[in-house]
């Protein structure tokens, strides 16, 4: 395994890309947040790629890439979707997740075709009961299965390091399984 790998976080505005990268990164993040021209309920929104980096273990450093999930950013997708170590789709918790954008995004990244370990990170779950998290996770799992993806949904609190680390750890487990 090469000692530098790319882990991508793709998701809608507000899904937590910048936050999880800031939480995980050991270097100062290259934060491309710019003032949004539309009021989207928060002051800043991502318009470019966020970048951070961690030493995952002794032999591997991970580059962390945050990419917006709307189709008009597909130029950025192309930039990032090269030899990815792992792909994470970040979805903000809500009773009715918007699966249309998710579909487009998955169709583009097509982790099945590229053989990239893939997980869905369900964010903003820290104030939601386990029961509700699990109900929404179920909806997302069946959505993934309908796209021929394994139903892996990891609830994650992007503000918390231990919780955020579950994502690279899970993807690493998938690589270990592949390697045996």
């Amino acid at each position: 395994m090469s000692d530098y790998q790319k882990l991508a976080f793709v998701g809608d505005v507000g899904s937590g890309k910048s936050t999880i990268i800031r939480t995980l990164s050991e270097i100062e993040v290259v934060d491309t947040d710019k003032r949004a021209t539309v009021d989207i309920g928060k002051e800043f929104t991502t318009i470019g790629i966020d970048y951070g980096r961690i030493n995952f273990n002794d032999s591997m450093a991970l580059g962390l890439y945050g990419v917006p999930g709307q189709k008009r950013y597909s130029l950025l997708w192309e930039h990032v979707n090269k030899s990815l170590w792992g792909l994470t789709l970040l979805v903000k918790f809500s009773g009715a997740p918007n699966t249309v954008d998710l579909s487009e995004c998955l169709r583009f990244f097509d982790p099945v075709k590229t053989g990239t370990p893939f997980v869905l990170g369900l964010t903003h779950v820290d104030e939601v009961s386990n029961k509700n998290v699990s109900a929404v996770a179920d909806i997302l799992k069946s959505f993934l299965l309908d796209h021929e993806l394994p139903g892996v949904v990891i609830p994650v609190n992007c503000l918390d390091r231990k919780s955020s680390m579950m994502i690279p750890y899970f993807i690493n487990s998938m690589h270990n399984a592949k390697a045996i």
Binding site: K141, P155, M165, Y169
Partner: protein
């Protein structure tokens, strides 16, 4: 007892018009039905023709095939193979795989000129085609499976749909992630091994329990079905048993 049918038919309409949406509908609805009814198989489209294999419990297959035969989205349905009283399945990884002809095409061209109807009255060729798809399924053990597949493990039929959602109490439990990661990536091999590598009953119980105990609805729906109650009577594993995780891990390392 299982029944398996291989047939080919002619799609209604031009590829550019109806066929893509028809296929999507068939796959989406068919999968839902097949998963719920223990049916496995694939559907392949090429040059205006469908080729499909379905297998499962005899009565279910018989009635499904009747419906398929009268479906207006295709016509001229030709039964190529019809096997009854089977004890095993061939396509357990696929509930309704939209199979690509690519693994088949080069080989297939040799004797069927890329048209499924040429398989009519050619039992040997039909069997050959089936085995090519079977091999494609076995080769692609990474992600290619259609997850809620069935597996007979000893007397227990296991359906694996997805892994349980990690709860907040499990945050930081990397052993658990390891196990789930293995399951997702190598579940086919894993279940093969459960079948062939004779796990002690309590080990199997522990593992299944771990997998299905969660409050996860998707999992509960796909509970392990006990053919008999042997495993029920055993005491439940202790959650805190850290040995359990390391045992499982070493199991995976060694055998999966």
């Amino acid at each position: 007892m299982f029944k398996q049918i291989l047939y080919c038919s002619t799609a209604n309409g031009q590829w550019s018009e109806h066929v893509p949406t028809a296929i999507t509908d068939i796959i989406v609805q068919g999968r839902r039905f097949n998963r719920a009814n223990n049916i496995t198989g694939f559907l392949c489209y090429k040059g205006g023709y469908y080729l499909q294999a379905i297998e499962g419990p005899t009565e279910v297959i018989t009635s499904l095939y009747k419906r398929i035969c009268t479906d207006s989205r295709h016509y001229d349905v030709n039964t190529l193979l019809d096997e009854a009283n089977l004890t095993t399945r061939e396509f357990q990884a696929w509930s309704l795989k939209l199979a690509s002809t690519s693994p088949v095409s080069e080989k297939v061209a040799l004797f069927i000129d890329k048209k499924w109807p040429a398989l009519k009255n050619n039992n040997k060729a039909a069997l050959k085609i089936l085995s090519i798809f079977y091999k494609a399924q076995v080769r692609s053990n990474y992600y290619n499976a259609d997850f809620p597949s069935l597996r007979k493990v000893g007397q227990i039929e296991v359906k694996l749909l997805s892994v349980p959602t990690i709860t907040s109490a499990q945050v930081g439990n990397h052993d658990l992630l390891d196990i789930y990661g293995h399951l997702i990536m190598r579940w086919r091999t894993f279940y093969d091994l459960l079948g062939t590598f004779r796990l002690k009953e309590y080990e199997l119980y522990n593992l299944l329990h771990q997998l299905y105990q969660s409050d996860d609805l998707a999992i509960r729906k796909y509970q392990v079905q006990h053919a008999n109650n042997t495993f029920r009577n055993q005491s439940k594993p202790r959650q805190s048993d850290s040995n359990f995780y390391s045992q499982l891990r070493s199991f995976f390392r060694r055998y999966v």
